[in-house]
Amino acid sequence: MLVHSRKAKWAVWTVFFLFFLPLFALPLLVVLGASFATNWSSVLPSGFTTGHYSAATRGEALQALTTSLVTALAASLLALVTGTWAALAAAALKKPYRTVLDALFMLPVAVPSVVVGLAILVAFSQPPFLLNGTRWIVIVAHTVLVTAFAHQSVSAAIVRLDPAYEQAAASLGARPSYVLWRVRIPLLLPSLTAAAGLCFALSMGELSATMMLYPPDWTPLPVLIYAATDRGALFAGSAIAVVLMAATLLVLLAVSRLRTKASYR
């Protein structure tokens, strides 16, 4: 810890319990509690049941979970490839061009995701790019939204990469493409997996743009949660929310295991 005196440590712990727990942990616990309940009229939920979970892991909900996982996986992979490519290309550019390219990739973060959703809906509702009504429009929207994060975290890693590695490789006779695949990408791998995890988590939770775009046969989990709570089925919605949380956490955990294997320093 950065604080050394006993008093300061107590103060830090107090702040932690007063602010962090109620703000971050408690709402999640409430959702967890609600997901096992049929009734919540007093301080604690009542009417213990696992019925919501059996509903949340079959039929429509299971379909939505698969939809979410496939969408997030596709979107984060696409975002990782384009984001990394763009970051590598930007690093090779001269200053003013690099700034422009970086700004371009940051745009989807600056623009509200509802606007991004609307823009994609308008843009892809007519030929020649008629994606409206297909699952692809959801995947495209998610890709656009998360590429910014992939690009940014990979850019940051490239800046930190010591140019001495590339130069040593080049002096040993390695062409730029060989240097890229054998030296730069492997050295960037920890950042790439971290970026992939971030993109995946963001895509799993995306609602506002998805709402405008999803076709009936491609309903991601957040939409289902929203629909459930919208019609008053709070406890059933909580169970689906917990499933969403667990699925996302599991994938992130797997990715982070990959990361520790790939980090060298």
């Binding site: 590695y165 040593a168 490789a169 002096s171 040993l172 054998r182 492997p186 060298y264």
Partner: protein, 350 residues
Amino acid sequence: MSGGIRFDSVTVAYDGNVVLDALDLTVAPGEVLALLGPSGSGKTTALRAVAGFVRPVAGRVFLGDRDVTDLPPYRRGIGMVVQQYALFPHMRVEENVAFGLKARKVAKSGIRGRVAEALEMTGMAAYAPRYPRELSGGQQQRVAIARALAIQPDVLLLDEPLSALDAQLRSGMLAELARLHRELPDVSILYVTHDQVEALTLADRIAVMDKARLRACGTPRELYRTPVNEFTASFVGNANLLPVTVSSGGVSFGGVELKTETAGAAVGARATLCVRPHLVGLGEGPNRLSGTVGEIQWRGATHRLYVDVDGHRVMADVPELRNPPAHGDAVTLHFAPEDAVLLTAGVTHD
């Protein structure tokens, strides 16, 4: 002829800021040339121009008789070792050493033998399966050298290769580098350093750089015995630099006549007399200088005296004294006329 490096008035500038000014320099095949200079002198820039990481704004760089000025680094075929080694952290030692061979598409059957040979030469054969992070600084240095040697370059560039090592390891590695050079007599080595001991120990010739320019070039002995200017005199070894006026048959230093070879310098001209501290003796002799002891340092086998002579501080390294003089004592120093060098170029006093 395939080896050797030639700089043909190579100028490098960043945004109009000249960091290397019209360098003319030749490294013969099999020669070790040290580029010696303080930081910012342009020595590393010169090395990077050979490696291909900076593009000269004027002049040409030749490797052997091949003009490589416009070639990208990967087509130059140079071995390079940098200060921080830059070993690939995700590869084992053997993979690091094999990297250049694989990148050049050397046949698999040939790679194993050459990797083993390079590791053998640097004494790192036992560490082949390790990762760089599992090695000490000195061991990483050896792997970096093995990696550069594995591609069998005609030219080896060493950029401050020992500066990240502690003093004891450094002298060991110096001997090691000298041995490697004996085993590879055809490889030209360009050795960039700010450490005069490394340059004097290892180099066949030293090129002294300062402020983007080449100040002097010669064998270590020439530069040490007969430096051509004040910068070289003070950067290669220690030197007393006395402001003098040329007189008939010698020089005059603050009213004291000193005998020395004047080599035809005009009488009355300003000049600098360079005398190495270890050639200055304590006591009576030819070319006497009288002064008071400013400071005295015991250095084991020698005493270093700082003597104030007529407002100038003169250093003398004398064999350890039984009864060393104390601060403020009046002493007499002397040196032989043939041990002094008169510098008439680049005189900074007036």
